[in-house]
Every structure is written in structure tokens, then in C-alpha cells.
């Protein structure tokens, strides 16, 4: 706050305070008004009586004023004056968070020392994990973790980067950056059609046989390095299994062809700084429990 406005507020506050105090004390005593017991206000023949306030109300006024002075001295209220207690919303929030952290630290430390497979059966861990999942993961993977177009289903047995506790934890901690190159310019439109046909046959779907056999050769040249000779994929590289009917980017013919032609660059963000090791451990257990 600019110093002018700070002083302006201080002036208003102090002036009101002094004014109110003056009004209170100036009106405390008065001339005796004789036997007149009405204020003179009349409406519809109803007169307003002048019943005096009880004396203890005066004491209450004084108490509120003392309270007001003490409050303004201790807490920020007078312009830029910060108050003798140095209280702010932020430091109260930080204190409370620190307190809550301390309360929960012991529990998280306890779980952190236990293996994921063990705590994945603990209902308390699952409850916490579900809440973290809703806040951090459900935006992409869905609140039921069954995934969506471009975001893998976490409840089945198909894992692009591996489904062991260690690899799940690594995926959450460091994130994952997929790099399926665009093959359109390398193998041409004809090549894309051929490889697509080959993939369809790998999945037991109908395809032109001559196209498929040509595609198998192209596959053995370009795709085998990552997806393996039989197309079972390689979790170490994040190359998905192409034979189980699960398609991250859609299993329709044109969708498969598009993935080959233009490539895919899925991106799972890293959560290490966002969540910290102890929360990631619990989240790992939750994700692990979804398929076990």
C-alpha cells in the first residue's frame, strides 16, 4: 500500500476511534429531563418511550474499545503497520501446513519403509492414494484410471514402460517421454499401408495378404529395433506391444496408419517435485493395486 493511503487509513481509523470515544463519554451525563419519558416520536398514536440503557452497556462499550485498541496494536490493521505479533495469513498458513506435515510425516515414513506390494493391500493407503490420484492423475487417465485416447489404461496388464513397482514409481517420479518417429517420409504411403496391414494380421484381424507380407519386411527393417521381431514391444524403451489389441491412439485402420506415418510423442510429466518421495510411494501402491 502506498504510504499516502496507509496514512489515510490510519487517520480515518484513529479519527473514528477518537470520535466514537468522545460521543460515548460526552453523552454519558445529561441534564435531568424532568418527567418527560418519551422521545417525542409518535406514529399512529404509538409513542416511543425513552427507556435508558442499562449501565452495564456502558461498560461493554468501553470493553469493546479496549479490545479494539489491543487488536490494532497486535494485528495488522492500521495502514501498513504490521502489528506487534507479526501475524500474516501466509505465516499462519505455513505454520498450519508444517503442523499437518509433522502429524502425517510419521505415517508416511512408516509406509515409505514398507514395500509397495505390501502396502498396496492396506485400505488406508488405498484411500490416500485414491485421493492423490483424483488430484494429480485423473485429469488424463480418468477418475477410474482406465485411460483415454493417448493416455494409457492403468488397470489392465498391459504396461508400456513395465508394471513392476519400481517402473511405476519411476514413471511417476521422472515422467515419460515417448518418441515414435514419423515414418511417412521414409517408407512412403505404400509402406505405411503395408505395415498397417502387417499389424492387423499380428492382431488376428483381416488384411490384404500381399500387403501384409510386404509390410512384414518393412517392419523387420524399421520397427523391429524397438517393437521386437514379433511386435511384442520393449518396456525398457517404452515401445508398446502391438499384438494384444490395445491401441493407445486408437485401433481403427486409419488411426494405426496415422501413428506410423506421423509418429507419436506421448508425454507423462514428472511428479518428483510436485509430490515428493513419500507421496509418490503411496501413489505407486495405489496404481499398482489397480491391476493386482
Amino acid at each position: 500500500m502506498a504510504s499516502f493511503w496507509s496514512w489515510w487509513i490510519i487517520l480515518l481509523t484513529v479519527a473514528s476511534f477518537v470520535g466514537l470515544t468522545w460521543i460515548l463519554f460526552a453523552n454519558r451525563k445529561g441534564e435531568p429531563g424532568g418527567t418527560e419519558k418519551t422521545t417525542g416520536h409518535v406514529y399512529d398514536g404509538i409513542e416511543e418511550l425513552e427507556n435508558p440503557l442499562p449501565a452495564w452497556w456502558f461498560a461493554m462499550f468501553v470493553i469493546t474499545m479496549v479490545f479494539g485498541v489491543a487488536y490494532l496494536a497486535l494485528y495488522p490493521g492500521l495502514g501498513n503497520f504490521e502489528g506487534l505479533l507479526n501475524w500474516t495469513q501466509e505465516n499462519q498458513y505455513e505454520r498450519d501446513v508444517a503442523k499437518a506435515d509433522e502429524v502425517h510425516r510419521e505415517m508416511r515414513d512408516r509406509y515409505l519403509a514398507m514395500p509397495v506390494e505390501e502396502i498396496a493391500a492396506n485400505p488406508e493407503v488405498i484411500r490416500m492414494g485414491r485421493r492423490m490420484f483424483s488430484n494429480n492423475c485423473a485429469q488424463c487417465h480418468g477418475s477410474d484410471a482406465r485411460g483415454a485416447y493417448g493416455f494409457p489404461n492403468l488397470t489392465d496388464d498391459d504396461w508400456i514402460y513395465g508394471g513392476s513397482p519400481e517402473t511405476i514409481k519411476a514413471s511417476i517420479t521422472q515422467g515419460r517421454r515417448a518418441a515414435m518417429p514419423a515414418w511417412g517420409s521414409v517408407i512412403g504411403d505404400q509402406g505405411v499401408s503395408e505395415v498397417t496391414a502387417h499389424l492387423l494380421t499380428l492382431n488376428g484381424r483381416e488384411a490384404d495378404e500381399s500387403l501384409a507380407s510386404a509390410g512384414a519386411k518393412t517392419f523387420a527393417t524399421y520397427c523391429v529395433d524397438c517393437h521386437g521381431p514379433e511386435g511384442h514391444g520393449n518396456p525398457a524403451l517404452g515401445a508398446p506391444n502391438l499384438t494384444n489389441g490395445i491401441w493407445l491412439y486408437g485401433g481403427q485402420v486409419e488411426q494405426i496408419a496415422h501413428s506410423i506415418r506421423a509418429g507419436r510423442n506421448g508425454n507423462m510429466p514428472a511428479h518428483e517435485e510436485l509430490l515428493g518421495e513419500d507421496k509418490i510411494h503411496i501413489l505407486t501402491a495405489y496404481v499398482y493395486s489397480l491391476s493386482h
Binding site: R28, K29, E31, L53, A55
Partner: protein, 471 residues
Amino acid sequence: MSESNPEQIDLQEVAPAEVGEIDLYQRRERIYTRKVEGYFQRIRLYTGWPLLLGYFILPWIQWGDRQAVLFDLPARKFHILGMTFWPQDFPMLAFLLIIAAFSLFAVTTFAGRLWCGYTCPQTVWTSIFMWLEQYTEGSRNQRIKLDQAPWSAEKALKKGMKHGSWLFVAFMTGLTFVGYFYPIRSLATELLQFSAPLVAVFWTGFFTVLTYLNAGWMREQVCKYMCPYARFQSVMFDHDTLIVSYDEKRGEPRGSRKRSADPSELGLGHCINCELCVQVCPTGIDIRKGLQYECIDCAMCVDACDSVMDKMQYPKGLIRYTSERELAGDTTHWLRPRIIGYVLVLGLMITVFCWQMLTRIPLELSVIRDRNQLYVTTDSGAIDNIYTLRLVNMDPEMHEFEIGIEGLAGAQIIGETEYTLNGGEVRTINLRIRQRPEQLATPSSEFHFTVKATDEASLHTRHESRFVKPL
């Protein structure tokens, strides 16, 4: 001055009259109430005792393995006998309070401030404290004398006993009150062992101090200056409302006389000006001045005056429950549109409330759609929508529930549909629903989630939601 114009009256130097400034705030005058017995005080006693016993004993009664009446704020569960209410039931409480307020208005229209005079906790606890005061310090005159007397061992003893007994009653009141919100058996033992949680100690102390101050020190000041009901009760009064009133026609002119004297010969009314009605009044007013806002309809003056009338062998009822119309020489109209209206509306509200209570289904389902992705297209071209369901079993018993959908023909639920929930359990359930897009007429279709207990036919509910497909 003597040389001045003879037509002018001589000025005289006169000292101004002593006009001291006065305090505009009213000093409180101590009210020393005189003990009174009689018909209406017996009514107060016989109606008050059951209510007080109920208040003090209720928290100690057990229901199964828990307290019969317990408002468990941290768990947000409110147990009343066999029923457990949840925050979701709050409209019921609001409804109940509206009924209570309406009953209060109806009673006030009919019979004035009966609530204030007989059942208001402020009056009841003030009466208890006055009784303790009478017991420890003696009668009205003894108390006035005691207060004026210099401090002595006897005075200190009496005062100590009075405040000690007040504090004891106040503490029992505070303990009982907190006992409705915190299990009273553990509260009592924890307080005795000095191991009660700070918050329980604080609130017990808080209500102890407030009871002590209210019933011991504030008394009629609460009714006169704090209670809003006292201020707006006059709008419910009409000419036929029962009020405690002095029969001016019969009583005036008032004056003392011998018991044997015939008042008509002396030119006097029936009021012997004994001031008993003033001395017994807990709010310190003189009822003979007419209806005043301080009057709480407690009828102490009625009993006091009746006892005097008995002694004088005059008919009772110089001060009595009567109405303005009756005082004016007419008769009170009992059945009047206002009263009939109040009774009808009250009856209707109570019926609706009871019906609501009896048909209450202790089960709640809420549904949240995933919004980050309105829909998911599967490999096979079907459409998935994802939902988070929250199922609350508000019944104290364990039940098995089955989730279904209505209004989405041919759709399939992906995920578990059968759940077993403990009594009072809240379960979050994630489901998706799969539907072929060609079976959906509109981009957004309304349907319902249903849930029913497989082991209890009366436990079922539904919740509306929407299914979205690509345009």
C-alpha cells in the same frame, strides 16, 4: 438598583438552583424477590421437574453400545435413540426449528408469554438459583439486611454457600450440556482425572460460567435487554391474548385498611396496597401499572395477590390471567381466525414432518462426471463416459448394494457394480459406462444411476446424470 425605573420589577441576584448532571445510563436496581407459593407456582414446579430431569438424565442413557442422544460434531453424525442423522438431513432440523418457532408464536397469540414464564431456561435456571439463594441467605428481608450489613464471618459463609451452590448447579448444567456433544461418561471421568481434552474442558467451563452469570447475576437483564423474543412478542398479541393483568376497576382506589373494614364504606377498591405483587416480581415491575414489556407472564404476582385476597376474604383474581377485552368488560374470544390459522398450519407442518421422518431413506448417492474428457472413444468405436459415484450408507447396519442405470438402453457398466458397505460408511466408486454412439439420439442424454440394497427392499435411491457423445 433602587434608583431604577419604578415600572420595572427589581432584579434579584439568586444563586442558580442546584441542577446536577445525571447519569443517562440506568443503574441496575437489585431485585430481591420474595418467595411465593400458590397454584401457578405448583404448575411451574410440576412441569419444570420432568423437563429438568430429562435434561440432566438423558445423556447418561445408553442405546446399544453408544450414548442414546449424542450430537457427534467431529464425526458429523447426530444420534437420537435408534436414528442417526447426517449433515444431509439438516433441512429436517431447520424444519423442526420452524415448527418450534411457529408453536411458540401460536402459544403466544393464545396465552401470551407462557414460554418465558414457565419453560424458558433463563427463567427455570433463575428460579433454581433464587431457590438456592433463599435457602442459603434466607428470606427477602434477611437478604436485604445481609447485603447492607458489614462483612462478617457469617456473611462470608452465607455468601460463600450461595455462590458455591450456584457454581455447582452451573457446573452440572455445563457438564450435561457438553455431554450432549461429547460422550458424557468419558467426559465425567476424564474431568475427574484431569485428563479431559482441552476443548471439552473449555466448553464445560464456558457453559458453567455463562450459566452462573446468567442465572445468578444477569437474570431479568437478559429478558429486558438481550432477548429478541421479548421484543417482538407484542406483534403476536391481540385483545384476546391472555395476559397477567391487574383488574383496575376492582382494585382502585387502592389503600390499606383493617381486615374487618368494609372497603365500600371507606371508598376503597380491593387492592390493599400491600406491595406483595411488586416484591415477588422477578423482573421488578409493578403489574398494577398495566401491561409492560418486562412482564414474563410467570404469575408469581397472581399467586401472591390470591393469597392476600384469601386472607382478606375477597374473591381471588384481582391479578389474574385475563385479556384486554375481558378487562374492558367484554368476554374473551377463544376461537378466532388467528388461532385457527395457527393450529391448522401447525397441524399440517407436523404431519409433513412426521411423514418425512417415517419415509426417510438412509441412503445417499451423488454422481460426479469426469469433465476433463467429456467422453472417451474406444478402439471399437464405442463411447465411454467416466463417473465418480459417492455412496453413503447412512443406516447404522451393514448392507449390500447394487448399482445400475436406467434410461440408457443397451449401455454397459464397466467396473464393479456390487458393494458391501458398513453402517455409516462412505464409499467412492469409479465407473465408466459404454454405449454405441448410433444408439444415442442426442449428443447428451439424460439417464439415472440407481442403487438398491439387495438385502433390504426399502433402501434404494437414484441420481440423475448425463451421457455425452461426440457431435
